[in-house]
Subunit: 270 residues, 2 copies
DNA sequence: AAACATCGTTCCACATATTGGAACTCCAGT
DNA sequence: ACTGGAGTTCCAATATGTGGAACGATGTTT
């Protein structure tokens, strides 16, 4: 593959061959916020037309994408089916659930559970005030780690070298005036977070939204995650957040402990 | 592939080559209710050891699977991320939402929205009485079409030949004493449903659970779906279900209409 | 302790499935 | 009729995936 390649710039599809390319296509379609036409995808994933065409046909046949009558592509239902299993069978989420509820009762604000994946936080559960119906709006949502409380907290639980490696791969998008703009700035704050045991997000991702978060880390299970209490700035003062920090830390510690007990110790010692 | 194959039984991986095999593996892991070891998967998808091994490695590298320390595999978080987009960007669900809410207020029972995919119904939304927190328990869940109200209703909206084709591919698992046991029996009921415009599920999937459902079909958008009102037998009588039938049919018709308006007519006429 | 299973991993000659440039069709605009 | 853009099809070349077999590592039985 990539036989004739004049330049040295290798397109990153990873070492996963065909599957990697297919996933890159899926990602391109799924992450766009509207149906993607052939040409849109073509320039998102740089593959020759013929190749992309077959790739798309395969993805459609597998139900991962759906081709609409106007020929554009959108995510298929099979993804939802897969996700259901990945969510409902998630022991970690199950264990954390009651702790989230307790934290919500205590604070009255929205509580999130997120897991670190690459440079992102994937929200795995959420408890909010007005249970406004359904799939809790953002389960499965991915947000950058550098501008979320959970993300920064999770990073602080890693070895310094590991956090640096991840930070190096980030692209710092300035969502608000307070968003970190560089790895250096992020890593500096992470030092503080490591010391304090909790992280704040002061309108770094969205204006008027702030939170306190604490890390959950269970190395035996390769689990790097975090929980947070989030609220609108007008209602939740900086002092209030700080006051909740201890509670969030405690809840995180309890989850960590329970995970260790219920998911069992590791007998392999790989 | 499948070079040396003594028997004539071809393993169904479809014509999607590597991707198909990979998805078969993913399916095997995702649909199991506990982490799968190498050997479990090996006998679920019949692939040579070497092949399977590489396939798994690729799936893990892509984040679709996670390998635990005890070497077993479980669904990865990336699936959740994909699904979030496939769900949150779903126009059909969005349009149906308010109609579901209205139907719920009217009946006080749980309302479901499901879409037909192959021989299954995938639940896309749900409104229930006690919003017991979170991802509405079964969004993304897949149930067989032959034993669910929505499934039977959806099938009734198809051309007879199409319904027969799909029914022929089903495996009839006897969940309860009332579950259809053959395509013939199912197709016979579908004729009645087609005439009535609504379907009942009288404890065919789960004991003590019954529902009324109506089909939603928008051929221009290849949409075959349905909605239902579900309740426990002790609370919801057969007469009560029958009384709601007209309301369910009306809601379904309204959704169908609104989809046609808001998703627009098709200009391609493929 | 030796022999035996079971499980997961690695290896490598082989050929199939993927590749990607190019030609082709269809449609809309000029 | 010409032009340009979008999507689809084709096919020789070969990189990629295949799968049988051998290898280690664990744990179990004799």
């Amino acid at each position: 593959m990539n036989r004739t390649r004049a330049d040295g710039v290798q397109e990153e599809t990873g070492g996963t061959g065909t599957l990697g390319k297919a996933m890159a296509v899926l990602e391109a379609v799924a992450m766009a916020d509207r149906p993607q036409r052939f040409t849109d995808i073509l320039q998102a994933v740089r593959q020759p037309r013929g190749t992309l065409h077959r790739l798309l046909a395969h993805l459609v046949e597998e139900g991962l994408l759906v081709q609409r009558r106007d020929l554009s592509y959108e995510p298929g239902l099979r993804l939802l089916k897969f996700a259901y299993r990945s969510w409902s069978g998630n022991r970690f989420r199950d264990i954390a659930e009651q702790h989230l509820l307790r934290l919500h009762e205590l604070t009255g604000e929205t509580v999130h559970l997120g897991v670190l994946r690459e440079t992102e936080i994937i929200y795995v559960d959420k408890v909010e005030s007005r249970q406004t119906v359904r799939m809790s709006s953002q389960i499965g949502k991915a947000s950058p780690a550098y501008c979320t409380g959970i993300g920064k907290a999770a990073l602080s639980s890693l070895a310094r070298s590991e956090a640096e490696r991840i930070a190096a791969r980030m692209e710092f998008h300035p969502f608000t005036a307070h968003t970190h703009r560089s790895a250096a700035s992020l890593l500096a704050e992470i030092e503080v977070i490591r010391r304090d045991g909790h992280a704040f997000d002061r309108e770094e991702h969205e204006a008027e939204i702030c939170c306190v978060a604490a890390p959950i880390a269970v190395p035996e299970h390769d689990l790097v995650a975090g929980i947070s209490v989030t609220g609108p700035s007008y209602r939740v003062s900086t002092a209030q957040l700080a006051a909740w920090a201890a509670d969030v830390r405690r809840a995180a510690a309890e989850i960590e402990e329970e995970v260790r007990i219920r998911l069992g110790p590791r007998r392999d010692g790989r």
